[in-house]
Amino acid sequence: MSIKKHVKLGLSALALSVSFHAMAAEDPIKVGILHSLSGTMAISETALKDTMEMLIEKQNEQGGVNGRMLEAVVVDPASNWPLFAEKARELLEKEKVDVIFGNWTSVSRKSVLPVVEELNGLLFYPVQYEGEESSENVFYTGAAPNQQAIPAVNYLKNELGVERWVLAGTDYVYPRTTNRILETYLKDMGVAEADIMINYTPFGHSDWQSIVSDIKTFGSAGKKTAVVSTINGDANVPFYRELGNQGISSSDIPVVAFSVGEQELSGIDTGPLVGHLAAWNYFMSVDNDANYDFIDAWVEFKGDDKAVTNDPMEAHYIGFNMYVEAVKKAGTTDVEAIKEAIIGVAVPNLTGGIATMMPNHHITKPVLIGEIQDNGQFSVVWETSSTVAGDAWSDFLPGSRDLIADWRAPMKCGNFNVKTGSCGASAGEQALADAE
């Protein structure tokens, strides 16, 4: 094939043909995208797949990385957790991708973990999660609890004078762990047991009448009350609707949510929600030129004037740029080289700061508190003065206090116990053990 091309180009274009050789000789960098495009999680994950395709397209317009183009390999794990593992295996074994960007739910990540560890792949995980994990092969670009939940509670306590807490969540691992961390944290601060109410609801819960009524009663005890919500995706809309219907305004009982972003709000009339809060590391409304450029590119890519951006999309933006930088730094896409090169890589985020990859495979992020506005956007009312480094192991859980993660030599361990001086099982082995 290269001979044919040579004939076509002729001998005169020597320089060109040399560069062509270089290009043709190198295969494209294959980027696996493991996001559900069907099933229940498609609501959240489809946008992330599109984000990745847009980022790859932009990077290729700039000539790729190290002279190599990038190529997206998209698979659909269909919101089916075991299928996530199969598709990850397909990406790594059959497609031989260099890196995977994917997953949303923690359970899908746990399902993929053993596979990426076994086949020594790279996975960038873009969603805020419960922490308590650090794998050699995974890079966590979403927030750990200390980058979202803890600062949000501090804000409520210090700025709004909240003394009574409702911890409401959907019944699965992320809310349960986050609420356990928050409960310990609140009690450490001297909040009495009676001033904490914990409530779990099933996925997609749509009848909030009695729970909202309970919250109302709980809030009439004389102390300023707030709801810390880890309610997942779909269930939020009827929850907020019920709050509005029962006349609970944000100045009475503010709700701070960790899973409600611009995309979730695009499905509701936000009029009655004005003033309720969300804690994220990015908001679409952040006044920053890099952010506006990103939004403009996204709107153009989607061909939809109303397309919104959100926090996990920014996480992919950061993760993708970190990977690109690491490939440039290492000069190769070899997994071992990337793992070494990427620690310490710093790229700009979309809120005007810098994100750095830490040795525990988490990144530094600013924490922003936003209030819901009537146009479905958030207005930032508070932010941390500097970025916060993600903590893989919470300081507020008994078992994890003594653990640290550091993937640099010589430690190279995701759960090193500083008391016993030993390293535990890898995250993938742990996930397998838990599943059995």
Binding site: Y200, S206, S210, S266, G267, K306, D374, V381
Partner: protein, 541 residues
Amino acid sequence: MGILRSLLSLRLASLLVLLMAIAAPAFSQTEEDPGQALLANLADASPRQMDAAIEAIVNSGDPRARSWLDAFGNNRLSRNKDTGQVVVVLRNVGRDWTIADPLTGENLGEISRRELDRVNINNAIRGKLEGVLAMLDLYSTNPEIQRAAAEAMMGKVNEPVIEPLNKLLEQDLPPRVRDRLELAVAIYQLEQGDAQAKAEAITVLTGSLHSRARAALNNAVAGDDPAIAASAKAALVSIEQKLKMNRAAETLYFGLSLGSVLVLAAIGLAITFGVMGVINMAHGELIMLGAYTTWGMQQLLPGQPGLALILSIPAGFMVAALAGIAIERSVIQYLKGRPLETLLATFGISLILQQLVRTVISPLNRSVTTPEWMSGSLVINDALSLTLNRLYVIGFALVVFAGLMLIMRKTRLGLEVRAVTQNRAMARSMGIKATRVDIMTFALGSGVAGLAGVALSQITNVGPNLGQNYIIDSFMVVVFGGVGNLWGTLVAGLTLGTINQILEPWAGAVLAKIMVLVMIILFIQKRPKGLFPQKGRAAEG
């Protein structure tokens, strides 16, 4: 005291509140408009200076003050980064925002959002602002505004407004407004007043069901004065007594409302599954189609959500009925008498329909607007209010049920349906076109599912997963009520809803669901044919 003075000065001005938007500027071009300085002051204020900046605007007595504060409260004040001019954002969607001059009300056209710097407001400031605005509205001549303002004053009374409030109370006020204001003042006195004022406040608060009153009493119980604490405690005890009744009524209402949702979701299935015996796993998706029809209607009629919703009732029925006919003709008719295969095939159809919606419309939820007359609640007293949207759904469920009953009992179609399901061969030999009856019945059941979708669009998410959330519940209701019996479905739905809501507060939502399920399983063991079993020959058919 600044606010006090300003409030008095604004008494007249507040009459003009409604005219504000078109108020002509009283200043010539050359003269500096003092409003500019006031707004700039607000825009520049740090969170700690906000109070003073708001006060300055109220103090100014400017007739436009109200409109500025409203814009501020609604997050609509912004500053032009280039010129420093403070503007009101009229439309804040998309890349270019429409702005207006707050001083003249003149529309300044569109500007890139990059050029604007929002004037920040947060919850704490909004709370104070609401108090200030409510205080202004108390002098309104519009009784509605005045009442809402009195309502908003609860818990927002502070030292500077207590005097004007007391003055206001000396005047002739509508009883509702007076009642609210007295409560609001009493709450303030209980928190800040001297011992005597506290004692008086407790007398006023005794018997009030308002949550703020309870909060204040709770705080008084925890206070240092033992005499006050004791009487506050006594007041609380009497309030608790009253609350018990209200709570029971509230739980019952919650139960009926959840029950009516279950009835709506299940009643279509009671026809297709109960009467025809077709296990239709795509029933949930027919509900979803009804909900999407409502959304589509609202897109067709922008700005008229109420009319769109009413038109969606026939439209949703038709869309779902047509989809039902398509499913019946294309799949179900070939699988007659093979329930397992019907189950699998219709499950496949449900997945196809879901993915179709995801691909064609969007995987994201669609926003369906609730019309004005359906939002909010019907206030019975301070502790008991019935949410309007659910009240409508209860009514709608009953109407649909009555309609179906009529069709099944009083029409030719109903007669034929019953004949065909009891003995197909016999009915055919009597000249009934069984195939036609099948189609009509399935269309009817599907159409009713569409109606359920229209109602559910007001309560839950309109998204591709809508149907999935209701399919299990629907089967549960139909089986519990007794297959083939519409009354059974009604009673079963309302019973399950009520039991669920009674269990939920003390068992939690997850456990309550499990308990209900276990209960049904046990019940079915005892009575395999449900609450209202079919009797006589039909039962064997």
